[in-house]
């Protein structure tokens, strides 16, 4: 709409209002309303029309109020804006709610994080206390134990002269139990080393046959007490693993001692080695009563004991330590058992090629230290 047209419209609108003001003619009022509607339809802005309405109303003079109904077209035109405004208010309210919720959740998450952090610090403190306690106990127990065990060991060797039969029996009881105590203290320290990751491994290539022969010789005396016969079956030629010899000997000592303890009198305990892919499997087979079914699932747990007789034989830490040691070598310790006909414990380890200085076959072995 041109400026002239707008001016003409303003005049016409003012005249309609004037007429209504003077005569109260409803027709004049309706005309003013229609003029406003048409103007808005023709593109005159709402604000411009509102200004025209104000000017026309002011021209009525005498303080007569502008007829509200004439300007209704303005309210109608503004209605969508009002809806939008209300919508915006509602959205703003929602956003504020959401923002408050997010702030609450952020505060809660921060609180939870701080609590978790405090718990972690507390757990580390307890862990340090535990390690310190084990170190202190280790020394405080090992010092008197050195004297007790040492004195009994020398007495058993006959250094103090010959004892009568009862004296010998009592000395044997005391010496055997001091050995148990030494083993227990050593095992607890080993567990602590495994848990804290401070157990070190001096890894070297080891030829399996002489190593197993040595392991059997070392345990033969112990096995004889239980009437068990340790024997080495055929071993593949030039079979090597890469391992810490002392730690692997500890594993063999545990497996052979257990097999001897649970063997029937004069029962054979057979050590065998087989090749399986890139792995060597070392197995220790006994003809004992087998592992009770309800014990099989927790046999590698610490302080696990099948029954009271087993408890007298040891603290139940050896297998747990043996398993950890084998796993540290990238191997796996397992068993097969049948009630009444015996148990075979075995460990699988990557076979080592000493010429190449690498495992014989690439495999899914965990990294060795």
């Amino acid at each position: 709409m041109t400026t002239l047209a707008v001016a003409a419209l303003a005049e016409e609108y003012a005249a309609a209002l004037q007429e209504y003001s003077a005569s109260g003619s409803e027709a004049a009022l309706a005309r003013a309303y229609r003029l406003g509607r048409h103007a808005l339809s023709d593109g005159v802005g709402v604000l411009e029309m509102a200004a025209l309405h104000q000017i026309a109303s002011a021209r009525l003079g005498g303080g007569a109020p502008a007829p509200g109904r004439a300007g209704e077209f303005l309210s109608e035109a503004l209605a969508p804006f009002e809806l939008t405004r209300r919508g915006l208010l509602e959205i703003t309210a929602h956003l504020e709610d959401a923002n408050n919720g997010l702030q609450r959740r952020l505060a809660e998450a921060l609180q939870a994080f701080e609590t978790a952090q405090d718990e972690l610090v507390e757990r580390r403190r307890i862990e340090e206390l535990k390690n310190e306690f084990i170190c202190i106990i280790s020394h405080e127990v090992r010092t008197p134990l050195t004297s007790i065990h040492g004195a009994l060991n020398l007495l058993s060797s006959g250094l103090g002269g010959e004892l009568n039969e009862q004296g010998r029996q009592l000395l044997e009881v005391a010496y055997r139990n001091s050995q148990r105590l030494v083993r227990l203290v050593t095992d607890i320290l080993d567990l602590q080393k495994i848990e804290s990751g401070s157990m070190t491994f001096n890894m070297r290539p080891i030829e399996v046959k002489p190593f197993l022969t040595q392991a059997i010789e070392a345990t033969q005396g112990f096995a004889r007490k239980f009437g068990a016969r340790l024997a080495l079956a055929a071993v593949p030629r030039r079979a090597f693993v890469r391992a810490d010899s002392d730690r692997l000997m500890q594993v063999m000592d545990n497996l052979l001692s257990n097999a001897a303890k649970f063997s029937p009198p004069d029962g054979p305990v057979t050590v065998a080695v087989t090749r399986n892919g890139g792995c060597l499997r070392v197995s220790v087979k006994d003809e004992g009563p087998g592992i009770p079914e309800d014990f099989r699932g927790r046999i590698f747990e610490r302080f696990a004991q099948a029954n009271a007789a087993a408890a007298r034989a040891g603290a139940g830490l050896g297998l747990s330590i043996a398993k950890a040691i084998v796993e540290q070598h990238g191997g796996r310790l397992g068993f097969q058992t049948a009630t009444g006909s015996g148990t075979t414990f075995f460990f699988d380890m990557p076979e080592w090629d000493p010429r190449r200085g690498a495992p014989k076959e690439a495999g899914p072995w965990p990294a060795q230290p």
Binding site: T143, T146, L159
Partner: protein, 129 residues
């Protein structure tokens, strides 16, 4: 030339019971001549006259511990080059590493088997470079 035989061992150990057991294991049972000292000061004072072939050293001792004792013994001519073996309950990996760094020949953990101690020490003596 054959290595000189191991005869005299200086034992530095503060615990009287372990002194008894160790000296019996090495003396009466093992056939060595053993001189017992209860502290670093005693060891430093006795070393010149006793002239040990090997020193067997405890770690946890009041006053100067085994490590300080080793340093003190290295400072006197009679023991400056005498091989040292630690006999100790302190055998955490980092502790053993420290003993090796200090030049000890070996570490024997407590508790030990007294009847096997003499043979163990002979084997350590024979295997030294």
């Amino acid at each position: 030339m054959a290595r000189p035989a191991l005869k005299r061992i200086l034992l530095v150990e503060d615990d009287p019971d372990i002194q008894t057991v160790t000296s019996l294991a090495l003396g009466s049972f093992g056939g060595f001549e053993v001189h017992i000292c209860g502290s670093a000061q005693e060891a430093v004072a006795a070393a010149g006259q006793f002239r040990p072939d090997l020193i067997l050293l405890d770690v946890m001792m009041p006053g100067m511990d085994g490590v300080d004792t080793l340093v003190a013994l290295r400072g006197i001519p009679a023991t400056a080059a005498v091989p040292v073996v630690f006999l100790t309950a302190r055998v955490q990996p980092h502790e053993v590493e420290r003993y090796r760094e200090l030049g000890s020949l070996a570490v024997i953990p407590k508790p030990f088997e007294p009847t096997a101690l003499a043979a163990t020490i002979r084997a350590i003596w024979e295997s030294r470079a």
